[in-house]
């Protein structure tokens, strides 16, 4: 990704997999055989999906375990699974199944959700498009980040971790290839946890982070 930084944007279409689960055992069975893009969606795509509540966990399985199975321990164990730590979705799936198996082995009663609290498996279709905006130098990042859509932030800062060879966001991947790789900036980017809060708040944090690094006034993101 040497040279210019190509600003892309994306839009998500959410599609039902036609599968729903009510118990922990059903969850294990479904995780084994739903399409890979469904596993991806429940870890990553959930950030792009409209929501009325703040994220407490970094994936839908953990959130469901807490909210609907009322099993905080299970939720914590599922939440610790970091999808960037796996080479591909199948490896992530295997780890998730393993964790669910272990939880099932330890159960005396299978955790079960109310009928109205079932987990519905979804998958996402991502449409990616070029905004035709380019950055020639990292110094342009503060202003550019403020103008990016929240989906563009998702694409470059979150989706990239599953796309780039090093499993990092596009900003770091770009900086690495430059003559001056801005290592301090890369380190600050690595410290920004992308999983919590809304994408709009993530955009605000990124904008502030770039502005502070390049010592320029923070561009106000409106609204």
């Amino acid at each position: 990704m040497a040279g210019e930084f190509v600003i892309k944007d994306c839009a998500l279409a959410t599609i039902s997999v036609g599968r729903r689960v009510q118990t922990l055992r059903e969850l294990r069975n479904a995780v084994r055989d739903v399409p890979a893009d469904s596993i991806y969606h429940h870890f990553w795509g959930t950030l792009l999906r409209p929501s009325y509540s703040e994220r407490e966990y970094n994936n839908d399985f953990a959130a469901w375990a807490k909210r609907s199975l009322h099993d905080q321990q299970l939720a914590e164990r599922l939440a610790v699974i970091d999808p960037t730590g796996f080479p591909d979705i199948e490896a992530l799936r295997a780890a998730l199944v393993e964790e669910l198996e272990e939880c099932l082995d330890e159960c005396t009663v299978i955790p079960t959700a109310a009928l109205t609290e079932q987990l519905y498996f979804l998958r996402g279709l991502l449409v990616v498009f070029d905004t035709h905006r380019r950055l020639a130098a990292p110094e342009e990042l503060p202003a550019a980040a403020a103008q990016m859509s929240t989906a563009s932030i998702f694409y470059h800062f979150i989706d990239a971790r599953g796309r780039t060879e090093a499993g990092v966001d596009d900003f770091r991947a770009w900086l690495t290839c430059l003559e001056d790789p801005h290592e301090e900036l890369q380190s600050r980017l690595a410290s920004l946890d992308p999983y919590f809060g809304s994408l709009a708040s993530l955009r605000t944090r990124l904008t502030r982070l770039f502005a502070q690094y390049f010592q320029v006034p923070t561009t106000v993101v409106h609204p």
Binding site: D9, C10, A11, L12, A13, T14, I15, S16, G18, R20, D37, P50, S51, Y52, S53, E54, T116, Q118, Y120, L122, L125, L126, V127, V128, F129, D130, T131, Q147, M148, S149, T150, A151, S152, S198, L199, A200, V221, H222, P223
Partner: protein
């Protein structure tokens, strides 16, 4: 005249509008037809009033057609509606035949438009049988189901499934509402329009004047439920919860306001029952709103005058009045049903309740805890801004259309 997309920049930000324009580029010139059963009243008509001009502004040739029907047809489709939401009722064969005949007549009337369209969105069950009359269609046909099909009356769903299985895709508001169909089932929650008369910012003076016009005392606490007079909206349960709460808050006022829709023949009966129940209650105002241009602004003012918004539905589609209330920065007490479950998060944006007693308890709680009430209202407004405005809804329609245009619904599409 509808506001142009540019007018939404101060509300949603420039990047959102830029994104819509870029996403729509591959769809320039596409002929898009939306078909539903009523031009006025109800959430579908409200969405289409905006969605169609937006699609035109983004370079498509979009139009909106309304099917025609007689009383028997609408009575039958109302039975459909109730049965699909779980009521143990079913149309008889003669009524089903009439339903198909009316769809056939509409197919003849709309033939050329629908046959030439690139995308046809058929909204809800009323016009669903149109598809079978177009074996030679060239475009992509999408069935947009706005109602909750999670627990349908099985015989009625079996019949309707036969009508909709042949579509190229369907769209449901929530995964919980969807049924398994032999085509891609997209999930697109509905939205509100922040610049519509029902949601636009109003001055304090206008809010007070509207309230005074219907007898509201601005110095007394107010609960408002905006909904059609429909049994599923439980207006009698709301009055009951008002009675229970007013024992502890004697100053409490309640407004039940709502319009009708030309495809709902039951509304009058329910309204009469509500009027009878509220007749001796001076703190309750029952306000049937005519389908006129001024009604949405009255709804807007009433929601802004309220301290608490109520939507105590027993069955619900998505329940957009909840989102509208949240956009006004008010907490919502919602029935534990349909899409309300998604919108109302306990202690974050309001409270979910199962009974009039539960609703009364939460009214008392919110009136007692003013600071929390205001905080919940603010949070609710921000959730709506980020997720449930019409620009997000439009983006998801465009994404679906791009996917169908590219004939793929797997993985990702790089434009």
């Amino acid at each position: 005249m509808s506001p142009r997309l540019e007018s939404y920049v101060p509300v949603v930000g420039r990047s959102v509008i830029d994104q819509l324009e870029q996403l729509a580029r591959p769809l320039h010139g596409a002929r898009v037809v939306h078909v539903n059963s009523t031009r006025v009243g109800g959430g579908v008509a409200e969405i289409l009033e905006k969605m169609v001009p937006f699609m035109n502004e983004l370079g498509m040739e979009a139009s909106w057609e309304v099917i025609e029907g007689d009383q028997t047809f609408y009575a039958t489709t109302k039975t459909f509606h109730n049965a699909l939401q779980g009521e143990p009722v079913a149309p008889v064969n003669r009524e089903l035949q009439h339903y198909e005949d009316m769809n056939a007549a509409n197919a003849q009337r709309l033939g050329t438009t629908l046959r030439q369209a690139d995308f046809v969105f058929i909204h809800d069950p009323q016009p669903a049988a149109l598809l079978s009359r177009f074996p030679d269609r060239r475009g992509r046909w999408i069935w947009r189901c706005h109602i909750d099909l999670s627990h349908p009356s099985r015989p009625v769903w079996k019949y309707l499934r036969g009508q909709v299985a042949g579509y190229d895709a369907s769209v449901f508001s929530l995964p919980d509402f969807a049924q398994v169909l032999p085509h891609p089932v997209f999930i697109i929650p509905p939205s509100i329009d922040p610049l519509s008369e029902k949601n636009i910012e109003l001055s304090q003076e206008e809010v007070r004047a509207t309230g005074a016009g219907v007898g509201i005392n601005p110095d007394r606490p107010l609960v408002v439920q905006i909904s059609r007079f429909d049994r599923f909206k439980d207006p009698l349960g709301v009055i009951n919860s008002y009675l229970l709460a007013s024992r502890f808050a004697p100053e409490l006022q309640l407004v039940l306001a709502g319009g009708g829709a030309s495809d709902d023949p039951e509304g009058e009966t329910v309204l009469e029952e509500v009027n009878r129940t509220a007749a001796d209650l001076p703190g309750v105002c029952v306000l049937p709103l005519p389908t006129t241009e001024t009604s949405p602004r009255i709804v807007n003012a009433l929601q802004r005058a309220a301290d608490i918004i109520m939507q105590k539905s027993l069955r619900e589609g998505f329940g957009l009045t909840v989102t509208e209330g949240m956009w006004k920065g008010r907490p919502v007490i919602g029935g534990n049903a349909g899409g309300i479950r998604l919108q109302v998060v306990n202690h974050q944006t309001g409270f979910l309740v199962d009974t009039p007693e539960g609703a009364a308890l939460r009214i008392r709680y919110l009136l007692f805890n003013e600071e929390e009430r205001l905080r919940m209202g603010e949070r609710a407004r921000e959730f709506v801004r980020e997720n449930f405005l019409i620009t997000r809804h439009l983006r998801e329609y465009l994404t679906l259309m791009v996917a169908l245009h590219h004939k793929t619904v797997q993985g990702r599409i790089e434009l």
